[in-house]
């Protein structure tokens, strides 16, 4: 449970998940933001209006999954690094997970890293497909990982295998 150990429960996750049908249509953002805190940059970051306007700054973000195209521009604006993009249509066997990442060195494209879950437990290999690190992202890189489809809702971070 989040307040006890920092790990969201399956029920927490289920409550913010897009439907299977939406996932089958392509990339979509998932806001793993489970606490009402005074914060709203995600709303201001979305150019498609896919994040519902906040009437109170303490509200949690609500995504209109039909408007969201999974571009990920909200991901690098979230101070909590709590937004992920999942693309279940990446290939027959693999899904794409975009992860906000603020560690150095950044991984290289095609590098094999170890995907980890929300508890920090290792899940297995994942391949880096793309690393986005533009000036607008201001040092919060987005790393695109290809993971087996059954791990797309588990993979939320990764470990770079080499020691620095």
């Amino acid at each position: 449970m989040l307040p006890l150990n920092g790990i969201p429960t399956p029920e927490d996750i289920a409550a913010v998940m897009p439907t299977e049908e939406r996932l089958s249509k392509g990339p979509v953002a998932i806001t793993e933001c489970f606490q009402n805190i005074p914060c709203d940059p995600c709303y201001h970051s979305c150019k498609r209006g896919a994040i519902k306007a906040f009437t109170d700054i303490n509200e949690r973000p609500q995504i209109d999954f039909d408007k969201c195209n999974g571009c990920g521009s909200c991901m690098s604006r979230c101070p909590g690094l709590a937004i992920f993009v999942v693309d279940a249509t990446y290939s027959d066997s693999e899904a794409l997970v975009k992860i906000p990442y603020e560690f150095l060195p950044l991984p290289r494209v095609n590098q094999i890293v170890t995907a980890v879950n929300r508890a920090g437990e290792e899940l297995g290999n994942a391949k880096v497909v793309k690393v986005q690190n533009t000036k607008a992202q201001d040092k919060t890189a987005l790393v695109w990982l290809a993971v087996p489809k059954n791990l797309m809702m588990e993979s939320r971070h990764f470990l770079v295998k080499e020691v620095r």
């Binding site: 793993e32 005074p38 303490n58 980890v116 920090g120």
Partner: protein, 358 residues
């Protein structure tokens, strides 16, 4: 003796915001800070801030510090005294300031105290061993000087500071063995907690440090579980290898100047200790002395900037300065402060502030 309209003690987020607002209305300001840079604790905050767009949410503290101090330095109405420590406030309203071994006296018409807070410590056997640090010191070493405090850290306290400093240690390539928290719940924003947990740092609530180990320096610690009455549960002791024990167990307002000035004070645990009674406009019981930021009650930097803005506007307007947007500006700041404190996480602050109203 230097005569000025407004003196501001402390160049952190509250003091900088106060200086900018007061000077924009036309008031002459002397801003005093003991460091050789402005920004206070902001300069160590490499993470993105929460809050609203107007409070620069999603910007990193270090960038906010740069922007605010650039604006202050560029403003001709503001005189900055750096490496200057306020030593005392006298009955006749004179501040004694030490700067590079020289004492200067300043007589301001209005005084804004924005001195911030100081870290609390924790009592346990061997807490005087080298390797036991406050979180602020660890953050200074890592983020200001680029020095690793050690190789493996045990963090004590899972509030925002403990969790964020843990994250920054990971970014610096330092291992964090775990974060322990005596309370039943993680005090930090859960998104921060989730971020360090998925990076491999476990958080143990209802745990405290029993003692530190080591002869000449820290080599580890024994941690122990607590029951619901905060009593140690025998048999739950665990040895953690670590060469750093980092204490992040809260802050307390730095109120010496206010005591000296005779401001009415009150003890409010929700605000971190003794705080001044203040009006909605942030004036203390001593007319002409205002407070802003952590000295008025421990809160987030976003609230400190808003309080600074409010104290800056009010102190300048009390001197007769005004502007076309003054009332709107003031209402806007008050509204933002209320919004910041309105949610569930603001409950403690609201409860505390209710006890400090003048």
């Amino acid at each position: 003796m230097i005569h000025t309209e407004i003196a501001i003690v402390g160049g952190g987020p509250a003091g900088l915001a106060a200086a900018i607002k007061a000077a924009r209305l036309g008031a002459g300001v002397v801003l005093i800070d003991r460091n050789d840079y402005l920004g206070g604790q902001l300069i160590k905050q490499t993470h993105r801030f929460f809050g609203s767009k107007q409070q620069r949410a999603s910007e990193r503290g270090i960038d906010i510090a740069r922007e605010l101090s650039d604006e202050v330095m560029a403003n001709e109405k503001i005189v900055v005294m750096a490496e200057a420590t306020v030593l005392g406030y006298y009955e006749d309203g004179v501040l004694a300031v030490e700067q590079q071994g020289k004492i200067t006296t300043i007589k301001p018409q209005r005084l804004i105290v924005a001195t911030g807070g100081a870290e609390k410590s924790l009592l346990f056997p061997n807490n005087d061993l080298p390797g036991v640090y406050g979180a602020g010191a660890v953050q200074t070493l890592v983020n200001v000087f680029g020095v690793k405090p050690g190789n493996r850290v045990l963090m004590v306290g899972a509030g925002n500071i403990g969790v964020i400093v843990s994250y920054q240690l990971l970014q610096a390539g330092v291992e964090v063995a775990g974060i322990i928290e005596a309370g039943p719940k993680i005090g930090a924003y859960w998104v921060h907690a989730a971020k360090v947990v998925r990076a491999g740092v476990p958080i143990f609530t209802r745990h405290t440090i029993k003692c530190a180990h080591g002869e000449r320096e820290v080599t580890g610690a024994t941690i122990v579980q607590l029951d619901d009455n905060w009593q140690q549960i025998p048999g739950t002791e665990r040895l953690i290898d670590a060469d750093v024990i980092c204490l992040s167990v809260g802050l307390t307002p730095l109120t010496e100047i206010l005591w000296q000035a005779g401001c009415k004070m009150t003890f409010v645990p929700e605000l971190g200790g003794n705080v001044p009674l203040r009006s909605e406009g942030l004036e203390t019981s001593v007319p002409g002395i205002y407070v802003a930021g952590d000295v008025a009650g421990i809160e987030e930097a976003s609230a400190a900037m808003m309080e600074g803005a409010l104290a800056g506007l009010n102190s300048a307007s009390s001197l007769g300065y005004t502007g076309p947007d003054l009332n709107e500006d003031r209402a806007n700041v008050l509204e933002q402060l209320e919004a910041l404190r309105s949610g569930h996480v603001g409950e403690k602050i609201r409860k505390g502030l209710a006890q400090a109203a003048l």
